[in-house]
Assembly symmetry: D2
């Protein structure tokens, strides 16, 4: 059960509500975000919601039977738009494209990418400075210095940054330079990281785990929301199956179901979703048609020379064509 | 290695070719289909293909490194169109819709469905008369009599029939009434059935196995082709993964990859691909955008009363809207 | 609901039972096997079982809530022993070993194998004469002539044969030469084949599908039982997962759960379960400890020269040591 | 390539080695652990290992083609024993049992568990004070205070503690009270945590990820080792598959393969491996027979009242019987 509280609720009204909840044997969680105050109440007994509904200080009450609560569409029917800057949002109806390299490699690469983004009217650049790598001997990214260099250049160009954060201790130093914090697939159940990201006021791009369920993804989002941050973007990036013909198996069903189960925006990552450069574009278009609110994709001026995952990285020509095609597809998708 | 032979090849030329193949230590498989004669030669030694290429009676020679040969795009670059009737084909550029109930239930249902198809200009009706059921106590379909009744009605309406065949012994009796034989997911590696369907001259709709790989699907198609029947339509219908939120997980990657790996047409089955009626349409549109040549979907006048899988079956209103949307989507997909 | 009928039930008593069942709105399936007569009644309404229980001709009545009925341990608490010959059974407490090559290759190989079995006191020889192969160009086995040759030699040696049947039309010709018909993983939901095997009076070794569930395996067994054949042996042979380090992933949990859910005997196939020769033995021993009633394993006089799956085939030395170790392990397993 | 350095290597010799490595175009990683000094050199070019082998200060050189290096059995053929205390180790030939509740709940529970362990001669108690929970609203453990209380009691009893650490910032405060740090399945690719655990001198119990591969598990272990900590215990705890009949699917193959691929000890977690209390024992015994060096299992004085995962928790009677059976099984396993 979710109780939406009025912003200006008086202390004694609040106490009265807590007493009532306690009275029916429910446990409550007090949640305060950028946008509102909530009580998430957990209990098993069925009771007449009207016993509470008429109390002072309550805006609305909703039953939510899902394991996740605040991220569920059961209480919030309208879609959530996550603001990135004054004139930029994900989930507001615009189709949002985030493009860039797997890893930030250096100034020249960043400049080249920004140029490509500007030419294609893309507002958000992706790139990794902290890279989760299977092997401890692989390149792990340029770190905070790389981020600062990157930020300096994007700022001039008016471009926003989405990049992965791998641990709690990185958040503070990254904060001034990051517009969207990405949680990678391997950290999708790193609950301490999710808790901490719930305490900042920046958008979070939350990737589904390697073999995470829909339910687990939404509960991971619940961690962030319930810690105070409503600015969450869900991301489907392919799951691990028995099929060996591609790196991951894009779960297109998930895009569709997430849009039903949650009010949060959903983007797709076709680069990781198939892992084969020549097929990323078709997959991206399918994702748009499935209802995604945006896409995050890898592009590089010389994909075959890119750090790490060049195999799934588009070159500028492919990227340019895809961007155009995605906009046309989105236009159609909105009408049918 | 595939050797395409000239139709009028002389016996002594043919023998000469076989001798040469034998000479390099390759084993050969003689294949004769509706459309041509081939020698599929299997061997490990690398040799100069020109040693054979200049022999009389040879149309062309191709190296094919895939496990599957005749269904590979490595030798046949152009796409195959599978003719259904004089003015109907799958894979010829048109987007082909096959719609109908899970099971043929009776005359009234068939009449109603045909009416719906006619109103929406659909030319192929799906339906099951032999149903593979997990439980031996479930309804297994109306059988050959149901098929005859069904055929009688579609014939008047000028509509073609696609229906599942479960075993070799059914083929002969079904032959006069069926336009496309469907091989179900559970029979995708029933090699005797595939062999037998290779010996008839009717289109085969071959579904991917529950947990079949891309490679296994194409090798299953190779069974049919190598027995003499080139008229094969591949079908992606969702795979079995760890995710429990839907009946199957549509593998949209497969649609894209199959179109690259093979010259055969590919259709999608969004009904089984997600198993949730309200989400079939979005999934179908994603499939169109991924490049599918057609769709096979379940529709019923009263889905909630349908035999067996009503949960994934569209009603007429949903179906009508989807058909319209698919055509628009296809139109766009062809231009980008 | 399962109603066990008395063998000598009178026609009018039988009719009375059917009427009562009909009266409560249940559908009934009349089943007659080597060992008994049953009515499997399917319906949703809850009713007082005593309304039927006192009727003449009824031996016993059991509620079975599982999707499978006759193979469930819910009605038959004691374990089933499947007789192979007068002095040989699977599931009678003895640990039964079935060993032999992947494919029957010729007389010398058969003689050599028999010699190995005799030396190790093994009574059942496995081998394939009809081989399901992914590629149509692979060797598909020696067929019925190979089976006859094989049978001639085993008969002299007093050894029984377990071999795979791939389609209904093979059953009749194989019948005189086969002691246990094996249903392969790819045919585990070939319902027509299961139906047909239910109509003969020979033991069936039923393998779990590539990605078959416990439930599907037991329902496949239900097909055989409900057609009249109670002699069923279940076989766990590894499932398809994301892990690529081995051919299949042995599902040891399945061995344990099948023994609880069903009264049928369970054997393991460690050869396919891991697909790596050097690890088959450890896996086999784990299977014994998990509670398996027997093992089916590949052995060959020259594994590296064996047709098809030599990689998972033991040589005689490995096999001999394993047999000894399995007997010791079984002895321990029975005491704890 | 792994170069084992002599402890007392002189600086100029060391520099000479680095120069040589650099000369062949390899990158080197300098690693210093509790037990030795290593250079892990990564490069693609093949070169004659003797060009380096004769240099002063080198103990030994090994080619290791695996993605993981230091944890590979390719260079260290003998098995590693991880010391827990003066007279206790995992991997030294003894079979090590770690038992206790899912969560530490309070003093009475701890006392009761210790009593059970003492009665059964178990030296290591498991229990969680930081619990990774899918839902943010679930109980997350008693935290550091719970750990201190627990430690106080085990110390008196001479029992060692294995417990999960969820993030880097917890390590320092936990250090005095923990004997084995457990990395949970959800953190198996939390590389920062692995790095940090590589910098302490305490044994690490590293669980395989939910859908982690063998290779990923060993590379995760490589993170710990390459940061300086050789005391690593691998743990197979079941993987995520399509099968819904149990919580996880124990991958018994993994136990066998890990023992071949790595020199590190391997324990099994049968509680999570099947998730069904009544089947944990059979599964544990299978694990012992597969070659596990130990077991970690859940036991509780009142499993049905246990926090969180009571379904997979043994009661004392079951636990006592299992311990006895495991020792007998281990005894046999060592002889065959």
């Amino acid at each position: 059960m979710i109780i939406q509280l009025q912003e200006n609720i008086e202390e004694h009204s609040y106490q009265e509500i807590l007493d009532k909840i306690d009275g029916v044997g429910y446990k409550h969680n007090e949640i305060s975000t950028q946008y509102g105050k909530y009580l998430v109440c957990i209990g098993k007994k069925d009771f007449d919601i009207r016993r509470i509904g008429s109390l002072a200080g309550i805006k609305d009450i909703h039953r939510v039977s899902d394991a996740y609560k605040l991220v569920s569409s059961k209480w919030k029917v309208g879609k959530t738009a996550v603001p990135i800057s004054e004139d930029l949002a994900v989930g507001n109806g615009d189709f949002q494209i985030m493009a860039g390299p797997c890893s930030i490699e250096g100034e020249a690469q960043v400049r080249s990418t920004i140029q490509h983004l500007l030419e294609n009217n893309i507002k958000i650049m992706r790139g990794g400075v902290y890279k989760p790598r299977s092997s401890p001997y692989s390149f792990r990214g340029l770190g905070i210095d790389g981020l600062k260099m990157w930020h300096e250049q994007t700022q001039e160009a008016g471009i926003k940054i989405v990049t992965e954060v791998m641990q709690v201790s990185q958040i503070e130093s990254m904060l001034p330079y990051v517009d969207i914090f990405q949680v990678g697939a391997r950290n999708s159940q790193n609950f301490n990281l999710l808790d901490a990201l719930g305490e900042i006021d920046k958008p979070i791009l939350l990737k589904r785990g390697m073999s995470g369920t829909i339910d687990e993804l939404l509960q991971a989002a619940e961690y962030i929301f319930s810690n105070g941050n409503e600015k969450i973007i869900l991301c489907e990036r392919g799951i691990r199956t028995y099929e060996k013909a591609y790196r991951n198996t894009m779960d297109i069903n998930a895009v569709i179901l997430l849009k039903e189960k949650s009010h949060l925006p959903v983007v797709v990552d076709p680069s990781h979703g198939i892992g084969l450069r020549d097929h990323v574009s078709r997959l991206a278009l399918a994702g748009v048609m499935a209802g995604a609110d945006g896409v995050i994709m890898e592009v590089h001026h010389e994909p075959e020379k890119a750090f790490s995952d060049g195999q799934q990285t588009l070159n500028y020509q492919q990227s340019g064509r895809l961007i155009d095609a995605m906009h046309k597809t989105r236009e159609l998708a909105l009408t049918i």
